[in-house]
């Protein structure tokens, strides 16, 4: 069914187009708005009453006129035509192919808004993913089906880290990423070179044919930016839950998405909430982030790794703040570590993986993994305290234990967080035990005597010998 309304427009205000209601259409139905300039723009019906309807145009409205604007009604909400062949293709922010190839022959279409996964049908994510990054694997483990964002800042190497995670991620004891692994990449308002960096890197690692790219460049319309992650996640859900693939969805940069949300909201004249962002930003972000997980009886999984740049590196800014309340943890990058050439510059203290507890331990990784990570956390937090103390009273003014902590903190950053190449979990744990050997055993209250005897004491001895 495709219906058209011609010359029914009565008013255009920002992204909103008001029409006389000449047809029987439903709320949220998709429309195509064709201007006198011949360009088509996607839109949706935002409100209807008996005589009028309001259309939210999702692309630029400039150039539209009241007289010659034609609106075509789809009679259904926005959908995306999907097939396994979307892998290896490049789309724009509204799901149109832009790599010069033929359009995708759709096997099925899905609403881009998606539906909430029934919590009863969800399977709790458990499969530990080895990323090769110690600060993740050992300290903040990622599991399949998790949504874990990277909180970064302008100029930090989040893109590089995301690519490394995407190309290295595998289950333990799996030699290489299997054929059922796919990447969906959504560039939301990213600069051209950043999008190009991802494309090139994925190509380099030979992952491009397993990737569907959705690009909304910084120069594209900001209303479209609201659709990009929805098209991308619809593709990801299809690949995961219909095609049974293990999908890693990378959304970058969610800050641009939120900015677009604010822009569109204010042009609609809505009452702003914190920092001008709309009051429904939490629900809106949740409608994206919640589209991750595992479903009972379905082979595929959908893991989300989104990147957001914290405005002014402020973790309390509404964008990272609301994101942190929705996602299952966060990985925080630190400018300070980056300056000290620690790569990856992951600040482990504010970082967190909420699902870690479900994916580690005896049945999944190693029996001592939880205690080791907890002890490292406690010790590093203590070392940061010691550092604050030392900055005032000087290192010499510290008690002996605090000085040991100080040394531990430096070693933690330089030898554990910083890593020249990928490590296996065993190598990461080894590095962790080695560090703890530099502390007095009495301080290791989160380890059992057996753990100290098995892992720390022998290394402590070696270390002491080596020093002499």
């Amino acid at each position: 069914m495709r219906l058209t309304a011609e010359g029914a427009a009565t008013r255009i205000e920002g992204p909103l187009l008001f029409l006389r209601r000449t047809l029987d259409v439903g709320l949220n139905d998709a429309v195509q708005v064709v201007g006198g300039d011949g360009r088509t723009r996607l839109g949706r019906i935002a409100a209807i009453d008996e005589s009028f309807m309001t259309i939210e145009v999702l692309e630029s409205t400039s150039g539209l006129a009241l007289s010659d604007t034609v609106v075509r009604f789809f009679g259904e909400p926005l959908t995306f035509g999907l097939a396994p062949s979307i892998l290896g293709r490049v789309f724009n922010g509204v799901g149109r192919v832009i790599d010069g190839g033929p359009p995708v022959a759709a096997r099925q279409t899905q609403r881009i808004e998606g539906l909430p996964i029934n919590p009863v049908q969800r399977a709790a994510p458990r499969d530990f993913i080895e990323t090769g990054v110690t600060a993740l694997d050992l300290m903040n483990s990622l599991v399949r089906g998790q949504k874990l964002p990277i909180f970064s800042g302008g100029g930090l190497p989040h893109d590089r880290l995301a690519v490394e995670i995407a190309t290295h991620a595998r289950l333990r004891h799996e030699s290489a990423t299997g054929g059922d692994f796919a990447i969906v990449f959504a560039g939301i308002g990213v600069p051209y070179d950043s999008a190009e960096f991802f494309r090139r890197s994925l190509e380099q690692f030979g992952a491009l044919e397993r990737t569907a790219l959705f690009l909304n460049l910084a120069s594209d319309s900001s209303t479209q930016r609201l659709l990009t992650p929805r098209f991308a996640l619809t593709a990801a859900e299809y690949l995961a839950f219909v095609e049974g693939k293990h999908v890693l969805a990378i959304l970058t940069d969610m800050t641009n998405y939120a900015e677009a949300l604010r822009e569109v909201s204010s042009s609609k004249g809505e009452i702003p909430s914190r920092k001008g962002f709309p009051g429904y930003m939490y629900s809106d972000l949740a409608s994206l982030f919640e589209r991750a997980g595992c479903i009972r009886g379905v082979k595929g999984t959908l893991t989300q790794l989104s990147i957001l740049t914290m405005p002014a590196d402020d973790i309390g800014h509404p964008i990272p703040d609301l994101t942190g309340y929705i996602t299952e943890g966060q990985i925080v990058l630190s400018r300070d570590l980056d300056r000290r050439a620690v790569y990856p510059p992951i600040d482990v203290l504010p970082s967190l993986s909420r699902l870690m507890k479900d994916g580690i331990g005896e049945r999944y990784t190693h029996a001592d993994h939880p205690a080791l990570s907890s002890q490292l956390y406690a010790a590093y937090a203590r070392s940061v305290q010691a550092r604050v103390l030392a900055s005032v009273v000087g290192e010499e003014g510290l008690a002996a234990t605090d000085r040991q902590y100080l040394a531990f903190g430096t070693a933690f950053e330089n030898d554990l967080v910083s890593q020249p190449e990928a490590r296996t979990l065993e190598q990461s744990m080894e590095a962790g035990w080695r560090l703890l050997a530099g502390l007095p055993a009495a301080e290791l209250t989160r380890l059992s005597d057996a753990q100290i005897a098995a892992h720390v004491a022998p290394r402590g001895a070696v270390r002491a010998d080596a020093k002499r």
């Binding site: 949220n28 909430p116 009452i271 429904y280 942190g324 937090a381 605090d402 009495a442």
Partner: protein, 588 residues
Amino acid sequence: MSRASIRSISGPVLHATVSGPFRLREAVEVGPQALLGEVVRLHDDEIVVQVYEDTTGLRPGAEVVGHGLPLAIRLGPGLLGNIFDGLLRPLSGADSAFVAPGMHRAAPSTFAFEPRVAARDTLAPGAVYGIVTAASGRAQRCICPPDVGGEVVAVALAGDYREDATICTLRLPDGRTHELAMGHHWPVRTPRPVRRRLPSIVPLVTGQRIIDCLFPVAQGGRAAVPGGFGTGKTVLLEALAKGCNADVIVYLGCGERGNEMAGVLEEFPQLTDPKTGRPLMERTVIVANTSNMPVAAREASIYCAITVAEYFRDQGQDVALMADSTSRWAEALREVSGRFGELPGEGGYPAYLSSRLADFYERAAIVETLGGDHGSVTVIGAISPPSGDLSEPVTSHTKRYVKAFWTLDAKRAQARFYPAVHPLQSYSEDARDLAPWWAANGNGDWLKLRRRFLTLLDDQAHLERMARIIGKDALPLRQQLTLLCADLVNDAFLRQSAFSPVDRVCSPRRQALMMRLVGRFVDLAEAAVAAGVHPDRLGELPSLRPLQRMGEDIPDAELARFAALEANLDRDFAELMRSHGAGDATHR
């Protein structure tokens, strides 16, 4: 039945022209899918309806049907062990992996019924007329709705019945007959009546030391848990749901993560109820409106959850309601209010936020039920303050209505010190009333020790500030000792892993022993330092490490080991004093 026709729609709010009477707050079915909604405004011939589901596809002219009843939920024996959406519609049993809009009702299940009344008995409101037993073996009472009472005309014989079958017929005082099934409907926004409220003198034993010993909440009390993201609100609430000694747990996931609900659903059936030894899921009702489910239903979910809690209270049970998170509910209130074009108050929230919060928290109580039993509802609400700022409206208003306040601290959480309850920013107004209970449960010194620990922790905060300026070693010995003791209180007593098989839940008995032991160390240490022992030497005592790890190492089944630990501690100190005396002598 009244009908109306949709005039305009915008998001979850629609206007409709009526052809029949509608009441304010009446529940309505909207459009061909019978979406659930509620009448929120009346205007001449127009009603404004808030729809609780996705309105995509609705069009003007579609029908709105009302039955003259307020938004009500069906309460009955089928609630326990199940998961429901924000409007108490079952989520289990759906065949699709996704939640689509439209009504869905659970197929009624069958329970064994045993009558407790006979024909010609008089049944008062709230009285028990039968016992139903689920397949799991858990018995529940059939209670008369609070607004119905009369003479029993007929009652079913003992046997298996569907939960919606009529099992008892009453003749009301006005001569009409009324049929009762195993459960009944109740409007969610109306508190269920009780005979009278009772004073709270018994704690809700949560199994978490920092809560039970430092900031306890009484049965029938109200507690709030504010904390920024990542401070462990959900983990703490889940730990309470697993370990507390309530008969029934109502767990409300309000605007939170779907994976968390999946985790609860997977974990609870495998854990055992500390009170009965049965699977934990049998005492649990989960109400889930995850963050991507319709926002309007989030506003209603909190009322559904507390109505369910009151229903079990009226059966004479002690109920704990965990609401995670009330901030999401307040935000839903704000969003819906914005759609109605109401004037925003502080932080964009409607001006009635405070009174709505009060309405909700006031429904927590320990009561004598209409049936003459004692029951309680304890409410524990999580708060997610934006950027962890506790001066925001939801936190500051909630603070006025709760008696226990457990502030979660980002610093503690970052050091993976859980539960990350900040001892100086938390409080409990119930503590004094609960001291007699602790005295009766093996800890007569509870109030004294509690005060002692809190003072130590308070002093620690001051001294650490000072140490930051002059260095720790420059502090007087007594103050260095305070730091050592406060560290011990934190490490040995307050830290408790929610995932440790041993320390997940701590019985009151073990709590008392641990509390006394830490108190004992502090006493001995103070005496030693007063006698001139350097605090650093206390840190070298061999029994210190077992003390620090006693939570992890000594399970509830081996409480005798605490006595051994205490003996070691006494011996170490005696040894220390002796060698110190000797050392002094040789120096001189």
